[in-house]
Symmetry: C2
Amino acid sequence: MRITILSGGVGGARFTLGVLAALPDAEVTVIANVGDDLEHWGLHVSPDVDTVLYTLAGRVGAAGWGVRDDSRHALATVRELGGADWFILGDHDLGLHVVRTQRLAASEPLSAIVADVAARMGVGARILPATDARLRTVMMTDEGELAFQDWLVRRRAEPVVRSIRFDGAGAPAAPGVLEAIATADRVLLAPSNPFISLDPILAVAGVREALESRRATVVAVSPIIAGRAVKGPLGELLDWLGHERSTVGVARYLAPLVGTFVLDAADRARAADVRALGLRPVVTDTLMADAAARTALAHVALTT
Amino acid sequence: MRITILSGGVGGARFTLGVLAALPDAEVTVIANVGDDLEHWGLHVSPDVDTVLYTLAGRVGAAGWGVRDDSRHALATVRELGGADWFILGDHDLGLHVVRTQRLAASEPLSAIVADVAARMGVGARILPATDARLRTVMMTDEGELAFQDWLVRRRAEPVVRSIRFDGAGAPAAPGVLEAIATADRVLLAPSNPFISLDPILAVAGVREALESRRATVVAVSPIIAGRAVKGPLGELLDWLGHERSTVGVARYLAPLVGTFVLDAADRARAADVRALGLRPVVTDTLMADAAARTALAHVALTT
């Protein structure tokens, strides 16, 4: 069975672990967001790709990103010397950024680098960055344009967002991305933020159309429970961008692409509203509190 | 009292500690070799400058370079991922290279960066890279040209050296370098390798002439004891480059620049040969086995 997952960072990575546990023999492809990539300390950092990578390699940090129990000695020196210390890079993690930056500078495509790193780290699933080209999420805020990580990390997601644009929208999909959508038995939209995790993937040439043409096989899992985001600034973004701050707001936004929408039991009363959008609602527990919960959630998304 | 020291890495750094201990009120300037700088992992690394920096900051590693008790977690990842692992960069150390590279990319001169870093690390002496321009030591070997660290570290100083050249020879001296030589009460050539530590400094425009014109005040300390280098491949280089493998071979090489030559008690019998070169020989213990020994050596070099 071929499963393709569109994923942002922490939530999508954990959901993918659930899919791998629920369906150990499946051929799983994760199409990962690169819109939040950044150049930091002169290095190319791919936060979402790396979160997926480290999670699937069994070495992710307790916070859901970075390497577990990593030291931060380079950061300590950078801080002591007055350098940029607002974005945390651990020491083990830094080695990956060094290698990726060197190989990108030698004109190797990001997707080839990620495939090699994943293989060396023993990751079984295929991880595809959505594109090998430069594609960056830019937040248009009340305080002007902010690069994504500037907004999220340096400014703690505080500046009010009026719209979001993607520098490099229309970039060609990385090799395998469109095929992975076209040939999957099921396409899963992980419980990731639709505006800053899924939209940058959809901004890649052909991805939106590929999903629309397979809408019946596309299952999305809601990242909102009882009006609250499981993680990150999704509630505020729904408000700021003029959407209903609820699972229905997300369902409405994704409706053109999705056949089935998995929502939390806490939102059971909204199932009819989801159905009214032309989506088949499936109600289950969506909070991935532990391995059993994420496997159960994946099982529902895979079998519903 | 103004003291200016020309220095390579470990030996020069330790000798400078001795000078600072022997003459606590002196105004000390260290002119450091940048010929062994390299770009590694996309970062600008200045091994000799950093050895001086870390040594004077009291945080140098036991081997004489790097940061004491530094971790090597980034290196472990680079190695795991098949990246270049032949040059050891510790994690704390890496932070300095990141900051330097970023600031160089922003067009700040190396000398200004080093001055700021030294101040932040609480270094009292002034550390001047010999030049802010690119100047690189290139080893012409039986196996072709090798960048200095390629020869020394990656190839373990094994390829036979036929000659040495300096890419960027004639580069302008960094601000303060020529003045530090011209105005010093005493100029000290640290017990550093003349070919790969001192010569790249002498390749900077005006440095050789500045020393020649102050020859009477220039004191060199021999890096050779009883025909053996205290550290590094100096013995082999003397052989390969056609010099006598002894303290006299070094004295002869440095004679145009030096008024006084400090040689080890083990070479006492060669003092007359040194004198015959037109240098004033001073015999003392030159092995810097501990703090007392390096202070005693510095005291001799400062008062002779």
